[in-house]
Symmetry: D4
Subunit: 208 residues, 8 copies
């Protein structure tokens, strides 16, 4: 009954951020806005921290969907940015797939808006092509919990692994000794409870 | 570990609307009535928009279950309408199966009331016969969330794919360029948040 | 211990619709969008049905708040429409107060977005000036339930009466015999469960 | 700061059951159907147990609202039954008010469907006329919790006391010694947890 | 991708009611007591209606777990009743397994208290021995939703099918024409919303 | 608009623990059992810590309601213990009222099972007699949240102040310097999050 | 029935931030951490934006309660900072009351951790002394919703007004024209949905 | 379709308690603190009761994560205790794996904080090496329900069995007759509802 553990590897992984656009974000109601914003930015910071190749894509930026969230654009000024002319499934866009394959990575970390479309479609396509896919559930959002649950089940049945940005960061880092400061800063900036622990700890250390 | 992506194809899909009857709707309590009504009508509009063959069926219209929701009848005046004389599983009704097979489609998009019976039974039967089945979860309703969750798990374990009307529409359409206006109208009519985006966008365009 | 029953009177009441704007609606998360849209349109239909003087007002339509929901504008083409140049509390705008007083009514039915600001502020001001105020809670929306609860408590402590559009319609109508068809249509158009009752009833009547 | 305790008195109280009709019950979604049915029947049993004068009333029984729940009709075959020809507020119906006053009671125990209309309107009217009013919240139902909360606040602000059938039964009974068997049977029939306690207790007593 | 539909068959099914005891019921908090009581009695009525062989079992009736719910004992006066002397998994009790096998049925419909133990253990054992197992989720209860969810996932992963009493009744009955009155009575007695439909329907039929 | 602050005073307060009996506790479902048990024991520890006169009372201990929770009996071996022969409202029992008045305190801290009866009735009676009453909401329990909400509103409308055991302890203690160790121990024993803070803090102090 | 509207006035108001300490924050569970952190920082930014006199206070910073959240300290480097030696109610600390009175303001905006103690106690004390008190509910936190609800009711019964940081900001600002940029920036920094509106709006303006 | 029942066996099982540290516990918000504390201690008591080899491990005890919960340390004074110098996945620590293998057991019962990292990572590693893994879901905690759900699905897809401490205890014990007193004490100490049953039962036995 043993089963191989497909584990995130910072040398094997790329990040795909799909359609985090200012208009589309108003559709997201399965997760509270303050938390969602924080999760998306945390995922971006994680990608930068581990220097993972990252690809941005949007759909119809000039229409009602609105422009990409500016913080993401600023975080990855040199990343491939594919403004799709119409394809709903990013994987149907040749440039996007080319950019993904150009990273040379076999593990894909995916998040986006909305979960059952902009995330699920390329996830299912990438699995079909043999990629290992990790969905960052808490940096992906959609209309309501019912829709999310159905989307999760569809992706998981296809072999996607459901994770969160925090779990992914831990699996990528492997060992705190690789860089205590860096990982601690990432967590402190995006997990208020963790920041409180550090604040209390540091204050006491300083008082010694 | 790659797995084939069974994807909705507008040339391969038919829609089955099972037992959306005025009396039975009073049993639906796992989804709020305003939202459920909207989802069912959105699914109908989607079927018409993509010109998918659609089949209506009811059970005991003259009894307490009540007549089919009039909007559905009006939406598909020429669709096969099978008023089943008694079979609970629509697939046990020969006329219904005949109508399904007459469409020549191998993908079935199914919604109905109540989820664990009127939807799940024909879904399981159709899978057994080799159809690819897509359940529109948010246009299907039942007594409570516990019942729904059990029904979803049973159907998914058998290979059904759980979707929503919005996800299905996106997967069928593939590319906005196929018809921006049409898909936009479908969304605007059934997603208030999307309509608001379009309202703001259009107003500003006109003000230029 | 007896206490006077301040009761809505269709000859004494005016309706104030405050800041139902396409942009601001994306802030509303204490009520589900399909239901909220339905409630706002139901309130508009109620106002028209009882021919209550109705006043529309918006804040910064040309900025990010966005334009008024088009359906409201269309429903009341001849109503006073006060596009406030900057006042957050509509009651701080002289034209708005003038329009309210010009109706000659002493009962004000108020709804808007967001509840604790655009609704609560003019409600508290109007009570101070001696108006009887009825808040239509389900056609008003805000960021989350905690915010709504605090706003309700503040308004109620000041003497506002908390109602819903359905309760208000019933209190205004008093007696079904005043117009069975009209009230039935209002309910059927905005309460799916009620429509189902009517569908079943009518079908059976016709089958006799 | 002392305040008089207005307490239910079995010699001073009458029960008003307003519009518990088969059609209207499908509108009730702020309480689960099995529980609501149980509560309404418990209230009826309580009224009979304490021999409280009870008045039934309905609105439009021959229309979509449907007939009164048969169990209530059977429970009170000789009670005044006022089928209102159109008045939404039962207190606007002279026969109803006459029947209430004919009981000679000053305390009114009220429940009905829907809470913010069929319950709240006569409650507010009765308070205005000097009655002490006790709302049985759990034998009253409406569209959703938001509507219920607003209705509760409006009634309480006017001086109504919010209770449940169980609390009312306890306040009426005062002392178990008045009839242990009778009150125990009432609770056992309508509170599964209490029945379980009695089952375990009785079994052990019998085994001694 | 076709998959066989393992379908309840009234000629192939037996019912196992495990540890519905007065004391243990106080542990059940993942489902509201009025609803749970109703579901358990509905399942019993269903078993009787379809004349399915039914087996009762309890654990430590003379201890704190308390006696079996009296209604179940009364419903099946002649059914095998195995009061287990100590085995937690009923399948570890030879008499129980003998009784199950003596029915000659290959489909087992199982419910009990608590879900993750008294239901899950014999379910997993029975599957191992080749039975087809159907768990009646809503006539089974446990400490909280988290516990239930974990138990459901464990059973489903082993091949159990998750159903409710209503779904099971529909799958067993197959066709309303087999007995409209009987099935209608079963539903009317245990589904308040369905009873209301029948009340409205019948009243109107009689008024014709 | 200033209003006097009626504040708990450890020299003016007595504690009344009403009907925390082993059987009745199975009725409590508005609060999770682990948390409720903890709250009741915390309240008992608080009463002992501040040496507040405490009175225990039960109803029908020898019947299905069951015996008082043993921990409470053990915590207050010398406290007045009034086993009421039948009065549902403890205040209707002369011995109980005598015991309350014998404390000479004017502030009453009350908790019990179930909230709307065993707590609310003596609370309303005590207010009528001029006592200042503080309800410990989280050491009181009842059937469900709806029942609790109605009971809270009734008590508050009569002038009762709604508190929790933690808030009461803080208001009684006034100043940490009165006894840091003692209050810290009370919190550490009953608030896991607080215990964690102390564990981390103490460990670090010891490591210095 | 008219009632005076006590309205926040930026020339009359001071802000009290009570016990937002790194340790105590781990006790807050009635509001999600990301949202709570955002609300507290938003309140701080609001106080600075309107240049309201602000007072910080903590309890036992060197013990398990931990240090004040660093961001607050940094935001108000020159504000009175009262590290209370032991008083639980900040109003029992003379220095704190002196600092409050030294502001010369009659309106107090209060937030803190935990709501029923660190907020409610000084709120009740300040009302007694004739201040107008506004509680910022969403920048105050406590153990759970039940505790919060009881605390809100106690404060409101004493005359406190329940608000949120957003509502307070709007009531203080009165008119957008006083400074569109400034208020817009405050909202954009702390309301993701509002920021999205501004992002979409600005992008389109720039594209013209 | 039969499937082998992998069943906990007290002779084959070891327990792994991962990172239950005072600081990390403040991150746990998917389960209420009183309940979580109780579950963790119950699992510890279970391990001791069945004399299962138990291994403790922590991460960064001297940093912000804080020391292990003292009760666990005291419960297992002689257990292997691996304070990991940095490895996030305990299975990446050789000493830990050695300790696990030294037990000679093939079944691993795992709980920890946080679920998706400290539990999921070693669970997936252990499965890969051929161990049978049982996750104690209710003695494991994490940031929120969404994160937990994703972690459960990932572990279950890999073959882990999801259980609770109560279910595990029952599966290990097999038969009450092995030791009624012992198992009863374990349950009575950690399940308030069960303790109440025993209290009522024992009291009555003693009264005979």
């Amino acid at each position: 009954m043993s089963k191989s553990y497909r584990r995130l590897d910072k040398n094997q992984a790329a990040v795909l951020l799909v359609d985090h656009q200012a208009g589309l974000l108003s559709l997201v109601r399965d997760i509270e806005p303050d938390k969602f914003k924080n999760n998306v930015l945390a995922l971006a910071d994680m990608a930068k921290y581990f220097q993972l190749p990252t690809i941005l894509t949007t759909s119809f930026e000039n229409g009602p969907n609105g422009p990409i969230v500016p913080e993401l654009k600023q975080a990855f000024p040199d990343a491939p940015f594919i403004a799709r002319p119409g394809q709903i499934n990013a994987w149907d866009n040749e440039d996007f797939v080319k950019a993904v394959k150009a990273t040379g990575k076999k593990q894909l970390i995916v998040a986006g808006v909305v979960t059952e479309v902009c995330v699920a479609f390329p996830v299912l396509s990438a699995i079909e092509e043999g990629f290992e896919v990790f969905v960052i559930t808490d940096a992906s959002g959609t209309f309501n919990a019912m829709t999310r649950d159905a989307a999760w089940q569809r992706m998981q049945a296809a072999g996607a692994q459901l994770m969160t940005w925090f779990g992914a960061a831990c699996e990528l880092h492997r060992d705190w000794r690789n860089d205590v400061e860096g990982l601690g800063a990432l967590f402190s900036n995006h997990i208020p409870d963790y920041r409180n622990l550090i604040t209390s700890y540091t204050t006491r250390q300083n008082n010694k």
